[in-house]
């Protein structure tokens, strides 16, 4: 059950990222100048008279430009248009009453659209970095575990060393000694590489242990006796045994990478300001202290991050079932 909820949460996030251009009513950088920090427009089905209607929204009417306070304009219902212009749903009157499912940010941009497009960068980076970490870590671990001896010692000692260091600081130091101003795609590649390097030792350790113990088993000896080459023995016989471990590792690495991107972007060392990622959105939100009291919808990337990480943790829960049998004595 918990596992299903976890899978559902992660799937929704990934699907949202993939379908962002269709799902989002607006482009990432569309600005509504009259709607800076406007609250979410909530789709309704019951109008002011209490009668049931097709889903509609009310437009925001600005009460105070200085304080950025808005009131619902209940005089007219604004209908929703479905499946038009290559988008799932938009407002019938996009210029005056845009559909803002999660409100607007301080530039008047649609937070929901930015959240969906931001998921592409934030989740995409985490997935790419996790794949990189697994490839790198599995190769190091496989070599160390397979050949043993001095090579094993050197490799494991260096991975031990990296594992002791606080990973956030390692990523921070590596990132900040590189050019500070880079384009979004350069940042993507760079952070992906840095995260992969920081995450690889954790993978390498487990893979090494598994390869080492599997190597001693009869089937490995049999394959070797039949003349399998080192590479074939590793790739065909030993590494497949690490599959379960790698799956668990990637669910552990993904949350760490998602949060690392957010932290680095938050301190200005991640994606450039104008690019939408969950980290840059949080960074922008935090520049205005009123966010916490008056514009909480700007913190939706934090909520999204929490749900994705929760989903990943829930998926992991059932991979390690509580030992029912061992638990029977005391209950």
């Amino acid at each position: 059950m918990t596992r299903r909820i976890g899978i559902a949460l992660v799937t929704i996030a990934l699907a949202g990222a993939v379908a962002a251009p269709w799902l989002a009513p607006h482009a990432v950088n569309d600005r509504f100048d009259g709607l800076l920090n406007a609250p979410p427009t909530i789709p309704r089905v019951i109008d002011a008279d209490g009668s049931l209607r097709a889903p509609f929204i009310y437009a925001w009417h600005r009460v105070s430009q200085l304080e950025q306070r808005y009131e619902e304009d209940r005089s007219a219902r604004v209908g929703l248009v479905w499946f038009a212009g290559g988008r799932l749903v938009r407002s019938a009157n996009e210029t005056d009453a845009p559909l803002l499912l999660l409100g607007a940010d301080s530039y008047g941009r649609d937070v929901f659209a930015r959240l969906a497009f931001g998921a592409r960068l934030s989740l995409g980076l985490a997935v790419a970095a996790a794949l990189g970490a697994i490839l790198l870590g599995a190769s190091i671990g496989a070599v160390a575990g397979y050949y043993g001896g001095r090579l094993d010692d050197v490799l494991m000692r260096s991975t031990d060393f990296v594992m002791v260091l606080p990973s956030m600081y390692v990523a921070l130091a590596l990132r900040s000694v590189l050019p500070l101003v880079l384009s979004a795609s350069e940042v993507f590649a760079l952070l992906g590489a840095i995260f992969a390097v920081v995450g690889a030792p954790f993978v390498a350790h487990g893979v090494r242990a598994i390869v080492r113990s599997e190597r001693r088993l009869e089937y490995a000896a049999a394959a070797e006796a039949l003349g399998a080459s080192d590479l074939r023995l590793l790739a065909r016989h030993l590494l497949p045994a690490t599959r379960g471990f790698l799956a668990v590792q990637s669910t552990l690495l993904l949350p760490a990478f998602i949060v690392a991107e957010a932290t680095l972007s938050y301190v200005g060392l991640g994606f450039p300001d104008q690019v939408a990622s969950w980290g840059t959105m949080l960074q922008e939100a935090s520049t205005n202290i009123r966010v916490f009291a008056d514009f909480p919808w700007l913190l939706s990337p934090a909520a999204a991050m929490f749900l994705v990480v929760l989903g990943l943790n829930l998926m992991l829960q059932s991979d390690r079932p509580l030992r029912e049998s061992g638990n029977r004595v005391i209950g």
Binding site: A262, L310, N327, I330
Partner: protein, 325 residues
């Protein structure tokens, strides 16, 4: 045991030297230096060169590194351009601030996480263990960055706690210590709560494994009360795997305190290092990294010794591992 301690101390020293050296050299290799990051665009070539010479940036990396190392032997850690003060004077205060934050968080996490883990690990059913487990799962999914934002959000709405900083501008009634504690609650909770959840899960797993062992069954068969079995006999065996994790926790604490320091403007090592990295204030970067490494070294050393007390086999195994290399 003495050999083991000596080996660990040697590793601690190596860690500090390696980390601070690496950060010094990396920062020097990085594009841009303190002069390009700080002087205005109107500066002419001669001015820039003069500034560079003052900072030792005209020397080769090797020469600068050598000079820095020899200066350290005289306990001179270089001069921070950003603050225009010796690095030695800046670091201790900031390091102490981080230590206050991290230690409070660690105490909170241990005090909350371990007892709850014992409760959930020693019972199978019941509403309480289920509730604790659910809360743990939620907190595990809220790394310090998110917990910090959530707590600031709550504080901003209720006004119960200050949302940023470490001290009030003027000492309020109740004294400076109370004021510090008041400021400490949110950041320490932001780091401590996710950590508590992690410890609870680990302790719970360790406990549930031990509870299935024959010696526990034997104790129960002899009629030893349930609570006594759990809190005395089983606990002793179940502390070991958790104690082993404390060596890695120091890194987690430092990583977590970085995010929290940035969000709640806590004047610690993290914010200092961030500023130093951005302005390419190389001696300060090296100093911060060295101080962080010192925390790390002492943390792991302390946890290894503690582990050796809980489980004497650990020091033998570790000494053996060390002897092999």
């Amino acid at each position: 045991m003495t050999r083991y301690l000596a080996r660990r101390l040697a590793f601690a020293l190596f860690l500090v030297v390696a980390v601070s050296s690496a950060s010094l050299i990396l920062t020097r290799l990085a594009p841009g230096d303190f002069v390009t990051q700080s002087t205005n665009t109107q500066a002419n070539r001669a001015e820039i060169d003069r500034e560079r010479a003052l900072l030792g940036l005209d020397k080769s990396i090797a020469a600068q590194y050598r000079d820095w190392l020899t200066a350290i032997l005289r306990l001179d850690f270089g001069h921070s351009k950003q603050f225009d003060r010796p690095v030695r004077d800046i670091i201790p205060e900031r390091a102490a601030n981080t230590a206050i934050l991290a230690l409070t968080a660690l105490i909170l996490a241990t005090g909350v996480g371990i007892p709850l883990g014992i409760v959930t690990g020693s019972r199978r059913g019941g509403a309480l263990p289920h509730a604790i487990r659910a809360v743990s799962l939620v907190l595990l999914s809220m790394p310090p960055l998110l917990t910090s934002l959530l707590l600031v959000f709550v504080a901003a709405r209720t006004g119960w706690f200050p949302i940023a900083g470490m001290r009030s501008p003027a000492v309020p009634p109740g004294g400076a210590l109370l004021d510090l504690l008041h400021h400490l609650v949110l950041p320490a909770a932001a780091i401590g709560l996710p950590l508590a959840a992690m410890l609870e899960r680990l302790q719970s797993q360790a406990m549930s494994e031990v509870v299935g062992e024959p010696f526990v069954l034997a104790a129960i068969a002899r009629g030893v009360p349930h609570s006594r079995v759990v809190w005395r006999s089983a606990l002793k065996a179940a502390l070991r795997p958790v104690a082993a994790v404390y060596g890695l926790i120091v890194g987690t604490l430092l990583s977590g305190s970085f995010a929290v320091e940035v969000i709640s403007a806590w004047p610690g090592l993290g914010t200092l290092m961030l500023g130093a990295l951005r302005t390419r204030d190389i001696y300060l970067v090296a100093g911060c990294a060295g101080a962080g490494a010192l925390f790390l070294a002492f943390g792991t050393l302390f946890s290894d010794v503690a582990l050796a007390f809980v489980d004497p086999r650990a020091s033998d195994a570790a000494a053996e591992r060390g002897a092999r290399a």
